[in-house]
């Protein structure tokens, strides 16, 4: 369930803990923190030192 809007968030096969998915209803970026059942937190916002 999306922690921002309470929508059910589908997860594809192969999704892993630590991945970021997008809520289909509110477009929030969500980090997968559990898989059985799927659990999410809001993904941390981009920081100035992120990159390649």
């Amino acid at each position: 369930m999306c922690p921002e809007c309470d929508a059910q968030v589908p997860v594809d096969d192969g999704v892993e803990r630590g991945e970021v998915v997008t809520c289909p209803e509110c477009n929030a970026e969500l980090e997968v923190i559990g898989l059985d059942p799927p659990r999410f937190v809001l993904a941390p916002p981009e920081e100035v030192d992120w990159g390649e």
Binding site: R17, G18, E19, V20, E31, V48, D49, W50, G51, E52
Partner: protein, 290 residues
């Protein structure tokens, strides 16, 4: 039968690139441990997990540098090395390394006050590009076309304050042909290259540029290997600009993203990186290009 190689893969999040790298390492019989940099604790002088090597894939350059610094103090080889990652994390350090090695790069100047930065821009000649010394994905880039824009932008940065705005890093703008080139270097090989096309003057794929295969000719190969060697070598993405009839190296990236480059080049980038990681884990010296 000898014990399998143990490799830690340092991550902030699991993206396509990390999955492909993990799978490529595992496919080679390597015991891969995903390490979340948010959960990691490292005690100086007290080596732990027993990795033969660590592949650094943190999104956070700060964390990646800090962790590789400690790992190297424990004698754990890292890909890339702390010194290489530190050089690439700073555009100023990268530029200094390129210039010292005689690698062609856009004319670059730094200044520390708005007035001095205007003078530096005038000396370079408009347009100039203002970049943060540390930063990636095309963040905070500004093309400055004239003195009015320069004065306004530099004043804004001075008022904003903070370390990321305290150094004015300026480069001559290169009027590239709607694209730049990214070459992928692994050890002493240029494994492939792509063109990054965009209608915008910023051609990062993180900003929406699309990619096509770029044939690696002798000139591109030599320039890329020289740039890789200038920063210390390893697994590197070299960004190059076509400036009329010559190539200029603009940046070198130490934690390269490549998901948009596999299909267009047909090259198994994660597989070749995994081969390199295996060589490093076995104690092979790192080849450093040209």
């Amino acid at each position: 039968m000898s014990d399998p190689i143990r490799v830690g893969m340092l991550c902030s999040r699991i993206r396509v690139e990390e999955k492909l790298l993990r799978d490529a390492l595992a496919h080679r019989g390597i015991d891969v441990e995903i390490v979340d940099d948010r959960e990691l604790t490292l005690t100086l002088g007290n080596p732990s997990p027993g990795w033969d090597a660590v592949l650094e894939r943190s999104i956070s350059q700060t964390r990646g540098l800090a962790i590789t610094r400690v790992l190297e103090s424990w004698g754990v080889p890292t890909i890339n090395s702390y010194a290489v990652a530190a050089t690439c994390a700073s555009k100023l350090d990268t530029s200094a390394a390129l210039v010292a090695a005689g690698v062609p790069t856009p004319a670059t100047a730094i200044a520390f006050t708005p007035d001095a930065a205007v003078q530096a821009a005038e000396d370079l000649g408009y347009p100039v590009v203002l970049k943060p010394v540390t930063g990636s994905w095309g963040r905070l880039l500004a093309r400055i076309n004239d003195r009015d824009a320069a004065e306004a932008l530099f004043e804004h940065k001075a008022v904003l304050g903070g370390p990321e705005h305290s150094v004015f890093y300026l480069q001559r703008h290169v009027d590239k042909p709607g694209r730049d080139i990214r070459a992928f270097v692994v050890g002493d090989e240029v494994i492939c290259a792509i063109y990054r096309y965009s209608d915008h003057w910023v051609t990062n794929t993180a900003r929406g540029a699309h990619t096509r295969d770029c044939p690696v000719d002798a000139t591109l190969r030599q320039m890329s290997l020289r740039a890789a060697a200038a920063v210390g070598g390893g697994v590197l993405a070299i960004d190059l600009l076509e400036d009329r009839d010559q190539l200029l190296v603009s940046e070198v990236n130490a934690t390269m993203e490549y998901k948009n480059s596999i299909d267009v080049t047909g090259v198994d980038i994660p597989g070749l990186v995994a081969d390199h990681v295996r060589r490093v884990a076995r104690g092979a010296p790192v080849a450093v290009g040209a």
